[in-house]
Symmetry: C2
Subunit: 657 residues, 2 copies
């Protein structure tokens, strides 16, 4: 690979690409762009670097946009695709303007070539380091980027009254390819995640009417999610699909004595692989958007499976957008807070100092915005434009909602840490003071007579409602002491009188909290039951939601639409996290330079896991005889039976029962 | 014309169009984009309006960008170019996303059609009234807008050693058209504002190498400024040009006994017409950019000639760009202040309450930014990134420059007025307090021993330098009493020891200030001499700068380039303002509902002027016998010999000497 890279203004590649992709959401033939404000890249930028050359050098230049070249402040005339830099020390400045996309630049000479060491400015007097990512771009240019694709073929063709239905055997994200096609007047492809959906052309969520004619074949324009296909008013010789490949590779495995769980693990992997694309999407059929809460959960799953740092970073960059931060991410208050937690957790798992240093001010900007929107009592309240969300469930989120105050405390804690780590001492002091006050005030939500955190305050008084949500957060984010956590466990989380969590989104937090309280056996049982039931329904990826009470095609409905439910939803991959974090028991420590393993059989007879670290992997085996741990690159610690044992690279640490 | 209009997010049409045009600046074959940060439009917007229909209605829809339609919150499927709205009351919401330009919409039904009454949001929870301008767009769409053009033909062909030079007789802004063209390998068109420039292909500022082939002819891609043309490596049958027409029509005339001044007036008109295009440009050959200081001066000239409210508004909108305002306009401190003055003056002349109400917060935003950049003494100082400019001359602008403090005072005064007028009482109180302090502090720049304002403070002390600039501003912007103004006149402005103003930019202010002090006869003499000399050089439009000392082709040089000087520069049209404002003596009053005329023969024997008002025109004749004034629509006042006489529409008010 050449040393020369395409470069751009930092974050702008991610911003442009996410805009383009999010605008590819369709509901049947209706395009649905995000309903939040989307940022745009800077269209007029200047790249700069100084070189000291021993001899004159020819440099080839390509730009996306119109450009000019200055050497030592003088314009070069007649530069089409190459120019010379004379011997000696020279400052090269290239202006690129692109009114229809991302201004980007690639220069290639022996010593003069573009890469991330160049400076760039949007003409605001501030120079930043240019963005670049050759590994991700491959042979694409920044403005024509597409994930690589692979041709795949249907595994079955089923004749129906409507015509032949093609079954690709599993969910894919692909453009349909037809050879020998004669497109009729109203050519259409109908897609189905389920057979039922593909054979219901009047109600399926996705269809295509636009085709690109190439030499020898036609394809649909936009890649879409499906397993089954039905065509209408098209004659063709053969049908296949160009399936876009995820840039992420799974680095983990988990096998145990329970075959269902082994199968669940593989399907969870496949689910996360499909949702991890240019960015981490919530689901590939319907939204195809970036949601901060979903990206946060997915990032935690990633650390125990794909651990693709880049897809997490790209997603965080796109979600933040551009300063000034003056609207909640996805309009959701919680999701602004989760960006901060996601960012801090990313640093914990990756130890990525550079990304941390370059982006920590974004966390501060988000927090400052949230702080500016507190009410006169210092609480996050429900402003008309701020979507207080908590859960994808029917909740009364008026007044001051406990979960929001909890997330505020968590965000403050994280930002105190970040400010200290990256040398923002004033911020650190400021946030510390607010944190102390807010933590103290949070106590008002604890109702001793109910042994629970109340859901919200209404008109200055606790509403007295006991729901799982704030109590889950209290355990998960260490918002109270161990004694109170135990009270919560008994009195709320395991209390059949308290309404159950029904959404997989909140179940992620609930099951994590239960694991933290030691209920791992209950959790592996839940995994086997809830996720196992989806397998019994024939799932090749995990769903947005599953309810065993829903019978027949009813199970595909959601949002008032017959096939509104997503059958490949990132949070469906929750077992990746639960099994890696709480059964295998792995935790990154010491700025991701080390790790701790505390395996827990959790009711299983035995398991063998291999899990990624920021460098290398760690293998963890446990059975009734004992525990064996080995790491390929990093040193760590095994905790078993209350004792600590060193784990050294390339050696097996074994502890017998 | 149909009632249906193209609509867009307010300001975004102007922002997109100005970006596109400013990126069409070329120096030979080098594209030169603005060196300041350029804003971009919102790409993802939602239009909304509620209708109450007596019966179902078909609506045709066109969008630039992908779109969807919701009626009462439900998406309509399969909308390609029309849809139905059922009878009854319905809310129509149309989302438009355009990743490559301005999202815009046009809907046409009997009662349901798009216009400026629609709401629009960039998905930030704020609804604004949509932008529209059918009169300006004509048959264009918002993204393909081009000024109308007219084919014009050379008036002469001159054979030279380099080939035939085509002379269009006067400066035009045009695309070159060739019929029967055979383009060689390196086809080029060389442009010249002067014959010398067109016949110096190695040094002329503009050339074209790109051509659009159409049926029957080819044209150059970008319209450029020229009078003379030379082609290279092109054979053709005939050559002409598509000259883009200004949207502005001159509404004034001025004739007097001095034939030179009459000729100057016409050439000034032509100069301003050429520079008044989509926006008011500084000059049409070289920069083709929007500069706030130039737009301000040009707007004053406009009020006495073209009075095209729309081109002034478009220019102010494009110059401001998008909130938050966090960089000086054109990077120049003075130019931020001049935006505020320009805005306020616009309201004085137009009485345009709607524009004032919708945009006064921009003035406050600019002022707040400037206030935030004062030093600890409350003065505007010279920060590294803030270009303290004052004049296009060699000035030492370090330290605290007097002119900047003066502009701060002027801006504060204007904003106190605006805040009061549009009901921002807190702002009004805040600015009033800062104004009092700043006015008081300005006295430190007055040096009684020198009878002049000193140029700047250096290290806390006046530099003692006496230059024209601050003393001109003091007179022009009423920063001191009449007595001191008279001291300044004698001691500075008319003092041959004080270095002369040499740039036409500052001469605009200097001559205006002298007129205010009653030196109108001197000013008409200067007009006849300085501008008359350019006519003698054969000018068909007025130049960026003229120096009678420069001989031969030397006079075309500037910025170290042989033909760097612009020969059609907006500020060259200064006589339009001086003659209208101080000789004809017209001033808009009472929120532009009325006017005052106080004619001044200024050394002329007689003159007859017709000048525009916001509605109608006013005719002013003066000679040694007396004065005659008539107005077509507005009532006003004639001031003559210290007395006031009413001017009533359609009647002549005559005052004998």
């Amino acid at each position: 690979m050449s040393k020369a890279e395409w470069i751009w203004y930092p974050d702008d590649f991610e911003i442009e690409l996410s805009n383009k992709l999010m605008a590819e959401r369709y509901e049947r033939d209706v395009m649905i762009p995000p309903f939040w404000k989307t940022p745009t890249c800077f269209q007029n930028v200047k790249f700069r670097k100084t070189f000291d050359l021993g001899k004159e050098e020819r440099v080839r230049i390509r730009a996306e946009g119109v450009f000019n070249v200055q050497i030592d402040g003088a314009y070069l005339y007649s530069v089409k695709d190459e120019f010379s830099v004379p011997a000696g020390k020279h400052e090269i400045v290239v202006s690129v303007y692109n009114g229809k996309g991302l201004p980007s630049l690639r220069m290639e000479g022996e010593t003069v070539f573009t890469d991330g060491t160049w400076d760039v400015t949007c003409n605001d007097h501030v120079m930043k380091k240019a963005g670049s990512d050759s590994e991700f771009l491959q042979d694409n240019t920044p403005n024509t980027f597409r994930l690589p694709s692979k041709e795949v073929f249907p595994v079955a063709a089923v004749e129906t009254g409507l015509g032949t239905v093609y079954d690709f055997g599993e969910e894919i994200f692909a453009r349909v390819k037809l050879t020998g096609a004669a497109l009729g007047k109203k050519p259409r492809v109908y897609y189905g995640e389920s057979f039922a959906e593909a054979t219901d052309p009047g109600h399926c969520e996705l269809l295509s009417e636009d085709f690109v004619v190439r030499e020898g074949y036609v394809t649909t324009v936009i890649a879409k999610a499906f397993r089954y296909l039905l065509t209408e008013d098209i004659r063709f010789d053969s049908l296949s699909a160009f399936a876009e490949e995820s840039p992420c590779r799974c680095k983990s495995s988990f096998v145990c004595n329970d075959g269902r769980i082994n199968e669940i693990y593989k399907v969870a992997e496949r689910t996360m692989e499909l949702c991890s694309r240019e960015f981490i999407l919530d689901g590939i059929k319907r939204d195809r958007w970036l949601w901060s809460g979903d990206v946060y959960q997915s990032s935690l799953m990633h650390y125990y499976s794909f651990f693709d740092e880049k897809v997490i970073k790209r997603s965080m960059i796109a979600l933040f957008g551009k300063s000034p931060f003056n609207l909640h991410i996805n309009h959701i208050v919680d999701y602004s807070f989760f960006w901060i937690v996601c960012f801090d957790d990313y640093l914990t798992h990756s130890g990525d100092e550079k990304f941390g240093r370059e982006n920590c001010c974004k966390a501060f900007e988000i927090l400052d915005y949230c702080l500016s929107r507190r009410d006169e009592k210092g609480w996050m309240d429900s402003r008309p434009d701020d979507w207080v969300f908590v859960d994808w469930a029917d909740l009364d989120n008026t007044g001051e909602v406990c979960c929001e105050q909890m997330l505020l405390v968590v965000a403050l804690r994280r930002c105190v840490g970040l400010a200290g780590r990256f040398g923002y001492s004033e911020k650190q002091a400021e946030y510390s003071a607010v944190l102390r006050e807010t933590e103290a005030k949070l106590e008002e939500f604890w109702l001793p007579e109910k042994n629970a955190y109340t859901y919200s305050f209404k008109n200055g008084k606790p509403d007295g409602k006991v729901l799982m949500h704030p109590n889950i957060f209290a355990v998960l984010f260490d918002l109270c002491g161990d004694e109170r956590k135990e009270v919560i466990r008994k009195n709320v989380l395991k209390n059949p009188e308290v309404p159950k969590i029904v959404t997989p989104y909140m179940r992620f937090y609930e099951l994590s909290a239960l694991c933290r309280l030691g209920d791992t056996e209950y959790v592996t049982g839940e995994i086997a039951d809830y996720w196992g039931a989806m397998l019994e329904e024939g799932a090749t990826t995990f769903w947005e939601r599953y309810d065993s009470e829903e019978k027949g095609d009813e199970k595909y409905a959601m949002y008032g639409r017959k096939y509104g439910k997503s059958l490949c939803h990132a949070w469906g991959a929750t077992p990746l996290y639960l099994l890696g974090r709480y059964v295998a028991g792995l935790k990154a420590t010491d700025g991701a330079k080390s790790f701790v393993v505390s395996p827990d059989l959790a009711g299983l007879k035995w398991f063998r896991a291999e899990l990624p670290l920021v460098r290398g992997t760690v293998k963890i085996e446990a059975d009734e005889e004992g525990i064996r741990v080995s790491s390929s690159e990093l040193s760590g610690v095994l905790v078993a039976g209350g004792k600590e044992y060193p784990v050294l690279p390339g050696r097996v640490t074994e502890v017998k029962r």
